[in-house]
């Protein structure tokens, strides 16, 4: 029989000194009370309950105990687990907005090690049912600002929280709000950037599909704070389900009086419309995004003027990313003081990452800033599959960099990642194992940015093209001795001279792999070798002594490069071989080696 109760021990810094021994205490008490089937234990990183001492969660029922001591453990076991009556005076009953998903998922290790703010409702509520959102304190933050707070108060609260833009650049959100609020104009706009374009990233899609109302609520709060009555969500047409859910959410919110005129009986008017993008990567850049909304070609323009002064249709405009909006209701209801207690000195709150690549538990994770890469990859991600070795972690998508294993203990925040040579970005995190060629991965990202370059400015348009040519040459085994130096010079030039963030960051994957994996570039160029065995052109297939002369390889070779009599060792003509690898697949005797 399974144990009836699950005990989750919170292993956060503030309680680590206490939590040691608590497990023993539980086990001892369970034995002393001869508790049927024993107990099931899980651990969690933090519940975000700073200053509550050691925290323990008892399930079923989601009972949260604070300031747990060994004496209290005895009482919990005797009175709660055996007697069926919770120890009331030690229960934490505050209904926080953050970490709501913990009630359902907290006893699972994968979720227990996360702290969910932006994703608090994802996977817990029916996104198409506004009642579900309301039952989870939905729109309460909006009602609170309309009732108790002036626009000035709201901006101060956001500023004090220390939240920074989750789209990647990390600009302090409160400052952005303040700038837009200060701009004088008859009309202002609030824009949500849902143009998620990084390959392999799905943070925004999941947030919208799981909890669309939180984005609307965040935007409405901003509208009140800066004095805007119109909001626009720019979302790519490739996200049909997210669009459908947003349309439903907007319609429901209008019906319920959370959008439209005289919201909740106040004098505040605010409405939101959707604008669909055709899926160009550059439209995630704010000025290109605004052009696209206006119906013009999605190309960036120089800043200043910043959108806060002159944005959509020339009016002051506040643009934030989906994840930033999803944080706003929590900042308002749980308070800036709580919010700023999570994270590091200059990066507050949490960050959502799309964990992908060569890792056991791929998925969406939200962790407090300051969590190390090691915690994400090994603790939450479950390590590398098939016993392979970790080689690097790529963060920030096509604008980011690759960090080698030496940086595993880097704390995740805007500054630390930048110092290590990568960026936070919007939250893509790709785990790379020893079977991946670093030159190829740099080429992959550059192919993407080169393709997505809008063509407006020369450094980005021409420079990325030249860089890609050089990278292709290297992976084809035709690299020249000064190619690495050329890549570095070009890369630095593109970074300095490009108009927008796309070009300014496009060389990052190449420059960071050169910095950290220079020897792989040099091997490709000087020795014609790809240590990961990924660059087809650099491979050679050779038949060894295991060959029994069965002829299987000879039959599948499409270019007749293999010769040899039956039952005698065969030979591959390296000049004819096109390295398709079919012989390697066909051989049943491990007689073909790949070098």
């Amino acid at each position: 029989m399974e144990p009836k109760y699950t005990i989750t021990l919170c292993d956060a810094e503030f309680s680590s000194e206490h939590s040691v021994g608590l497990k023993d205490a539980f086990e001892k008490a369970a034995k002393a009370n001869s508790l049927e089937n024993g107990l099931r234990f899980t651990t969690c990183k933090t519940l975000g309950l700073n200053g509550k001492g050691a925290v323990v969660v008892v399930n079923p029922g989601y009972y949260v105990y604070g300031n747990v001591t060994e004496e209290l453990v005895d009482r919990i076991v005797a009175e709660h687990l055996v007697g069926g009556e919770a120890v009331e005076e030690n229960l934490i009953k505050e209904d926080h907005l953050f970490n709501r998903s913990f009630k359902t998922f907290g006893d699972s290790e994968f979720f227990g090690k996360q702290l969910r703010i932006a994703l608090r409702n994802c996977g817990n509520i029916d996104p198409d049912n506004i009642d579900d959102y309301l039952a989870n304190r939905g729109y309460e933050a909006l009602a609170k600002v309309l009732t108790d707070m002036t626009p000035f108060d709201v901006i101060q609260e956001v500023k004090k929280s220390g939240v920074r833009g989750r789209g990647g650049a990390g600009f302090p959100t409160g400052l952005k709000w303040e700038f837009t609020q200060r701009s004088q104009a008859d009309e202002k706009y609030v824009v949500c950037n849902a143009d998620e374009g990084d390959p392999g990233a799905f943070m925004d899609r999941s947030t919208i599909e799981g909890d669309p109302h939180t984005v609307l609520e965040g935007m409405a709060i901003a509208g009140y704070a800066i004095g805007a009555s119109k909001g626009v969500i720019y979302i790519r047409a490739e996200y049909p389900l997210a669009i459908k859910r947003l349309e439903k959410a907007i319609a429901d919110a209008r019906n319920a009086g959370f959008l439209g005129t005289k919201i909740l009986g106040s004098d505040f008017d605010f409405d939101i419309e959707l604008r669909l993008g055709a899926g160009a990567f550059v439209c995630g850049e704010e000025t290109a995004l605004l052009n696209s909304i206006e119906g013009r070609r999605g190309m960036p323009r120089p800043r200043p003027p910043f959108p806060a002064q002159s944005g959509l249709f020339g009016k002051p405009t506040l643009i934030n990313n989906v994840e930033t909006w999803a944080n706003i209701p929590v900042i308002i209801l749980d308070g800036s003081e709580w919010f700023s207690s999570v994270g590091t000195e200059n990066s507050k709150g949490t960050k959502v990452f799309a964990l992908a690549g060569k890792v056991v538990n791929t998925g969406l994770v939200e962790v407090p800033m300051g969590t190390t890469l090691r915690d994400i990859v090994y603790d939450i991600g479950g390590g590398i599959p098939n016993g392979k070795k970790l080689k690097a972690i790529q963060t920030g998508g096509p604008s980011g960099g690759c960090l080698p294993v030496e940086y595993l203990d880097t704390k995740i925040d805007y500054e630390s990642l930048a110092k290590a040579g990568s960026i936070m970005g919007s939250g893509g995190m790709i785990v790379i194992d020893e079977d991946t060629c670093m030159v190829s991965i740099a080429k992959f990202f550059l192919e993407f940015t080169q393709d997505e370059s809008c063509g407006k400015c020369t450094p980005c348009r021409e420079g990325t093209k030249r860089m890609l040519e050089i990278l292709t040459r290297i992976t084809d085994g035709k690299g020249k001795p000064d190619d690495v130096a050329k890549l570095e010079r070009l890369g630095n030039m593109i970074k300095k001279a490009s108009l927008c963030g796309l070009g300014q960051s496009a060389p990052n994957p190449v420059l960071s792999t050169i910095k950290n994996f220079r020897e792989e570039y040099e091997e490709h160029i000087n020795e014609g070798k790809c240590r990961a065995g990924q660059c087809q052109s650099l491979l050679s297939y050779v038949i060894n002594d295991n060959c029994v002369g069965c002829g299987a390889c000879k039959r599948v070779c499409p270019v007749d490069a293999i010769s040899g009599e039956k039952k005698e060792a065969h030979l591959i003509d390296q000049d004819k071989c096109i390295k398709c690898g079919q012989c390697y697949q066909a051989c049943k005797f491990k007689a073909i080696g790949k070098f």
Binding site: N59, S108, P127, L134, T147, S206, L364
Partner: protein, 118 residues
């Protein structure tokens, strides 16, 4: 005049009442992941299996709901079963076949299928 917060509180309690009207103290709630990723992994079929079982009267006292993506890509489609007084059961990699078995074994016979739990 009521403040926005008072109006909202009223709306919230109405919402909670509407939700409560659908369930009783013994109602079992089943959540099926229906985000793009879950649907791509095959959750529509899973939803259909549960829907059919409820519509045909095979299982009673069960409320079915969709939910967004909780973030466990490699275990999708995911299904959660909320039984009053129990820690929510979280099943992973649920296809139509597994859904049928969950209905037979867990919902009808109360047997938790340990090996599929997340």
């Amino acid at each position: 005049m009521a403040t926005p917060l008072e109006i909202l509180k009223q709306k919230q309690s109405e919402a909670i009442e509407r939700l409560a009207a659908k369930v009783s103290d013994s109602t079992i709630k089943v959540n099926v992941g229906m985000a793009t990723c879950e649907i791509a992994a095959g959750s529509r079929n899973v939803m259909a299996v549960f829907r059919d079982a409820i519509d045909s009267g095979e299982i009673e006292g069960v409320v079915l709901s969709q939910k967004g993506c909780a973030g466990r890509c490699y275990l999708e489609p995911t299904v959660e079963i909320f039984i009053p007084g129990k820690t929510p059961y979280k099943y992973g990699k649920v296809d139509a076949e597994r859904a049928k078995e969950i209905i037979q074994r867990h919902l009808k016979n109360g047997e938790v299928i340990q090996e599929w739990l997340i």
